[in-house]
């Protein structure tokens, strides 16, 4: 998708809108090519690629707005008419802002040509090698390797024209043994930054170490949560970190701003420009994303404001607004938890006697204000004694308040880019947590 193509599409939409007496038009254009090679039982079993384009047109007529989306570029004028018809049929929204006049958005480089050019054969070769690592350990490998390239542009009738291009690669692998399993996953902008063979060996080693898992009674234990487990659990709170969520009193931060909620050692940022992060440097309306300190030493601080929420509060938007119209207002997507200075080995020694958790699974919110989450451990849960892994454990169910857990963090590693399955990728540390409540044990 070239700039000229996007401008041509936008001009077509704008001409159509003007013919219907509508001046305010916004267009989001995106193009993506992605491929994913999936393997199980030590063989590739699902292998796919897709390419797609999409154009989403929004019009504003006074205080009314609506959106129409199509992937048929020949239908842009028709989609524009649909958006106009929808807007005219809608109700006025007193909160609707006029379209954004362009500001300055510094681009962020997230394109790697080598990643964009990865072929099916290259993915298959890497997968074959990773399977070999797991087979060598006598286990069964399952996983996936994906690569992608994507471009997005946002234009509007007030002169906005911002663009972001990005590549990505993700590798994950599970090594399944007779009565145990191990897992590893990583993602990066550059495929070259991934090390699938090392991830495969790590998963295989966890599968071996957790063989013949012991059953331990539920209870409160000292745990070491590896970064993927931290990501998936702590990641559940960030949907509440928004000005609109606070305004609607659906956030756990309602009435708690300025109060020390977490331990003093917990500082959390949202920073799209962090070198380990991904994503576009502008939001759904084209506002440049600003770095925010969401929690400073345990105290809620800067919250993201979309343009409408900012106007209501008399503040400046932070560049975290969702595309308009929307239900949720704004969201943060570039989380960085500051962490500590321990190495992973130091943390294991520091744990002493406790439980090491590789990953968590099927996490769901049980209490929205205390942020009590339930979920399971999975693919590598270990008994640790004297700072050393003793054996694998049968998997636990937990019911933990993330708010309370973040008061019980005793030590952290340096943050790394982590990838899980229950929340978006983040830059997070491993955490040593006291009194983590495991409430049930499953049968494996």
């Amino acid at each position: 998708m070239t700039d000229a193509q996007a401008r041509e599409w936008f001009s077509a939409a704008q001409r159509e809108a003007r013919e219907h007496g509508v001046d305010d038009v916004e267009m989001f254009c995106a193009e993506e090519e992605s491929a994913l090679t999936r393997f199980a039982n030590n063989a590739i079993h699902q292998n796919m690629s897709e390419e797609s384009r999409v154009v989403s047109i929004r019009v504003a007529i006074g205080q009314r707005t609506a959106r129409a989306t199509t992937n048929r570029m020949e239908n842009i004028r028709e989609a524009t008419r649909t958006a106009i018809e929808l807007a005219r049929a809608s109700e006025p929204d007193a909160h609707l802002m006029e379209m954004f006049s362009p500001g300055i958005v510094e681009p962020v480089m997230r394109w790697d040509e080598a990643t964009a050019q990865v072929t099916p054969a290259m993915r298959a070769e890497i997968v074959r090698e990773a399977i070999g690592c797991v087979e060598d350990a006598g286990h069964m490998a399952a996983g996936m390797y994906s690569t992608s390239r994507a471009s997005q542009m946002l234009l509007n009738s007030r002169g906005l024209h911002v663009r972001h291009d990005e590549t990505g690669a993700t590798f994950s692998i599970t090594a399944t043994a007779r009565d145990s399993s191990g897992w590893a996953k990583a993602s990066a902008v550059r495929a070259e930054d991934l090390d699938p063979a090392t991830l495969a060996r790590s998963a295989a080693e966890k599968g071996t170490q957790s063989a013949a898992p012991r059953r331990m009674e539920p209870g409160r234990y000292r745990v070491l949560l590896e970064p993927a487990a931290v990501l998936d659990l702590v990641g559940q709170i960030f949907g509440d970190c928004s000005a609109t969520a606070l305004e609607e009193e659906r956030s756990f931060l309602t009435g708690r701003m300025g109060e020390r909620l977490f331990g003093e050692n917990i500082t959390i940022y949202d920073d799209v420009r962090h070198p380990l992060q991904d994503g576009a440097p502008f939001d759904g309306e084209g506002v440049a994303r600003r770095a925010l300190t969401l929690f400073a030493n345990g105290v809620p601080g800067e919250m993201p404001y979309g343009r409408a929420a900012a106007a209501r509060a008399g503040r400046k938007p932070t560049g975290h607004g969702l595309s308009v119209p929307n239900e949720a207002g704004e969201c943060v997507t570039n989380i960085v938890i500051a962490g500590g200075s321990h190495s992973p080995a130091d943390l294991l020694r520091e744990l002493g006697d406790g439980i090491l958790v590789t990953r968590l699974w099927y996490i769901r919110e049980v209490d929205p204000f205390r942020k009590v989450m339930t979920g399971m451990t999975r693919d590598g849960t270990f008994l640790v004694e004297g700072g050393e892994i003793v054996c694998g454990l049968q998997n636990f169910r937990f019911n933990e308040s993330v708010v309370e857990m973040l008061r019980r963090v005793e030590a952290m590693s340096a943050p790394v880019r982590a990838s899980g399955e229950e929340a978006f990728d983040m830059v997070v540390p491993a955490m040593l947590v006291n009194d983590f409540p495991f409430t049930e044990v499953t049968l494996f």
Binding site: S34, N71, T82, A121, E327
Partner: protein, 481 residues
């Protein structure tokens, strides 16, 4: 557009394949929502694209594109073939497909009132009236309503000669209200949580669920939950409403019976299953009252898992999953059916869109109605009755689950005696179903739609159907969180 699919299939056949199929999908959707009396979403979307899946030397290739020009189609075919060849680089067993008759058919799901034919003004007016009725209760701090409609027309062809055109129209609607008070957030939803009810119907679904009639009750209950006692902890007789039971079926029966999970295909993501193939026709999954079917036929109802053919051209079927408590069947595809000695797939391979590879998915996995009246289900000295899902979680082999509900009531001698808040229950799947004591009759049976079932990499979000009626279970671990 049929010529595009046929062009792709011809190209694939010319280049030499064991098997190929092409799906061309045109879809359109509409989303409307309100929030605290404001219109918060008004959006239409359309999408057209094509996918080709091919088997070459035992390896699978799949490519999807929305470039439907001759050049775009040729590029997709070339890519699918390159991917299939790459798959053979790490292949253990060549894929083989169970036989399926050739089908030439055209089918559309019933739709009485076209949801796209009703004006947006009328639809928004309806949602805003529901929203206003909930906000009439001054304790309410946040209201939500939504409407969703989707129509997908799919043309399927394969190298065996099948040509199938299907059109499915789906409608969904729901409402919810929240009350925040003293550091506690309580919510009530109707007719179900997480978006409401979804079926293969038109606007008539919105009329049937009559959200306006329930709005004030929802608001009253959300407010009353703040002064309700917390649900007591212990082993109790548990009665579930049909919507919660629908999700219980989904998680503790529907997913474990997916044969691809059993065979390890999802080991890295969605997980595996405790239902290893040696347990077929041996495991006592539930009590003798429990009869569960997987049924994609229209006779079962207009569920999100209803169709005439699945996404590899296999005709819709009804399969016994549990009969008088005995585990009797899996969900299969043409590639996996042979693993359990079946000669034909039971038609469960489904894709979330033109850009996704079809996977084994639930169709309508339903608990058949029992023989009890509702009064008989509740006719116990003491029980906890829970309604409307709030949270759900289960381990990656589908043994241990925990569900939370929006509201519960303590039952004494068949009557509600007090409201209870923050209820949860947990257990092991087969122990739970073996504890089934009573199932309400067809009069109370509802075919629920779960529109957000996730599976696969890249993840696919699929709609599934689950019929259930209120049922009673003995000695279940209950508590509050």
């Amino acid at each position: 557009m049929h010529h595009v699919a046929l062009q792709a299939l011809d190209l694939a056949a010319q280049r030499g394949v064991q098997y190929a199929d092409v799906r061309l999908v045109e879809s359109k959707s509409q989303d409307l929502s309100t929030r605290n009396g404001r219109v918060s979403q008004v959006a239409d979307a359309e999408s057209v694209g094509m996918a080709i899946r091919m088997l070459v030397d035992g390896g699978w290739g799949f490519a999807a594109t929305d470039d439907l020009t001759p050049a775009g189609v040729e590029k997709a075919v070339t890519m699918a073939r390159a991917i299939a060849r790459a798959s053979t680089m790490a292949l253990k067993n060549a894929a083989r497909l169970a036989d399926e008759p050739v089908h030439r058919a055209k089918w559309a799901s019933p739709c009485t009132i076209d949801p796209f034919g009703i004006s947006v003004t009328k639809k928004l007016d309806h949602l805003l009236r529901v929203d206003e009725a909930m906000r009439a209760n001054k304790a309410v701090t946040l209201t939500e309503t939504l409407f969703h409609a989707n129509r997908a027309r799919q043309f399927f062809v394969n190298t065996e000669g099948s040509e199938i055109e299907q059109t499915r129209t789906m409608t969904g609607a729901g409402c919810a209200c929240y009350v925040f008070e003293d550091g506690d957030l309580q919510k009530r939803s109707y007719p179900n949580s997480f978006g409401g009810q979804y079926q293969l119907k038109g606007w008539e679904l919105v009329e049937e669920i009559d959200m306006l009639s329930q709005a004030s009750r929802l608001a009253e209950e959300a407010a009353a939950l703040h002064s309700a006692d917390v649900c007591p902890a212990g082993e109790f007789t548990l009665i579930l409403d049909s919507s919660q039971l629908g999700l219980q079926i989904h998680e503790s029966i529907g997913h474990p019976i997916e044969l691809d999970r059993v065979l390890g295909s999802e080991a890295n993501y969605a997980g595996m299953s405790f239902l290893t193939v040696d347990q077929l026709r041996k495991l006592q999954y539930g009590s003798p009252l429990v009869h569960v079917v997987s049924d994609a036929t229209l006779e079962h109802g207009p569920g999100l898992g209803t169709f005439a053919f699945d996404d590899e051209g296999v005709a819709a079927q009804r399969t016994d999953i549990i009969r008088e408590g005995l585990f009797t069947g899996y969900l299969t595809s043409r590639e996996t059916a042979g693993a359990i000695g079946a000669t034909r797939s039971n038609g469960c391979l489904r894709a979330a869109g033109w850009d996704r590879l079809p996977l084994i998915r639930m169709t309508n996995t339903s608990l058949e109605p029992g023989t009890s009246t509702l009064e008989e289900v509740f006719d116990v000295p003491h029980a906890i009755y829970m309604e409307t899902n709030k949270s759900w979680s289960i381990d990656d082999k589908r043994y241990n689950f925990q569900f939370g509900c929006e509201v519960a009531w303590e039952i004494r001698n068949g009557k509600r005696v007090r409201m209870l808040k923050n209820p949860v229950y947990s257990g092991i799947s087969t122990q739970f179903w073996n504890a089934c004591q009573a199932i309400a009759n067809r009069e109370h049976w509802t075919l629920w739609g779960v529109p957000n079932c996730g599976k696969g990499q890249p993840e696919q979000v699929m709609g599934t159907g689950h019929g259930a009626s209120p049922s009673r279970f003995g000695e279940i671990s209950v508590g509050s969180l």
